[in-house]
Amino acid sequence: MVPISYYLILSGILFACGVTGFLIKRNIISIFMSIELMLNGVNLSFVAFAAQWHALSGQVFVFFVMVVAAAEAAVGLAIIISVYRTRETLNVDQVDLLKL
């Protein structure tokens, strides 16, 4: 008998870790992984609410989130590979040609 709030707090913590990683990491792949972590946290709260309100739509929506995450991961990694080929670095601080 786990209260629903525990699942939500865990989901919030995962999301917060994702945001923190997104902001403090310098490696572009780690930033990307933090995005995936955020998506996972959101998935958890979807499933928790689906269980609480007995609505299967929550679980169905998790699928869509996963599919979108997969598509975004594929394209994002392709972009990262292109950036690495031209810039020879994975450090986001050094990809700053457009900076003033």
Binding site: M1, K25, A50, D93
Partner: protein
């Protein structure tokens, strides 16, 4: 949660990737506890088994080393850490207060594959089709982005 914190703490991206896999595995177990067995299986197969493998590939291919130390910001540390603590405590307190004692027993909503399939193909048919087009666009985009710029343009059919 340990996996998530480890993701932040590790400097080499491959270790972060592996901790993310651990996070996804434990999330799959959480889904099982909530009764969403199909979602748990799909989480393992798709997320931990394919997307993270893709991440691991790219990390191994690009062979990037450890992360460089950045010049931290003292101001951010001064305001950020207490601010985050306050914010999270507030959020947690609100959540616990508002949820009352609505507990969720283990395996509350059995997400049988048949029921989920029914929903997917009846109520959520339009999003389903749209996401399939999205995946197609993603595939085309990835292929175009990752191909070598000089050698693949104008290559004849072999």
């Amino acid at each position: 949660m340990a996996g998530a914190v480890n993701l932040l703490a590790q400097r080499h991206p491959i270790n972060s990737a592996l901790s993310l896999v651990v996070v996804m595995g434990s999330l799959a177990v959480e889904y099982l506890l909530l009764g969403a067995e199909f979602v748990a299986a799909v989480q393992v197969i798709v997320y931990a088994g394919a997307i993270m493998v893709l991440f691991v590939f790219v990390i191994m291919l690009l062979n990037a080393g450890e992360e460089a130390r950045t010049k931290g910001s003292k101001v951010a540390l001064l305001f950020g850490v207490p601010g985050m603590l306050v914010g999270s405590i507030l959020m947690g307190w609100v959540l616990i207060e508002r949820s009352g004692d609505k507990a969720v027993p283990a395996g509350a909503l059995p997400g049988a594959p048949k029921l989920i399939g029914w929903l997917l193909f009846h109520d959520f048919l339009l999003p389903f089709e749209v996401t399939s087009i999205l995946v197609l666009i993603a595939i085309m985009g990835a292929v175009v982005l990752a191909s070598h710029p000089d050698t693949d343009q104008g290559k004849k059919e072999r």
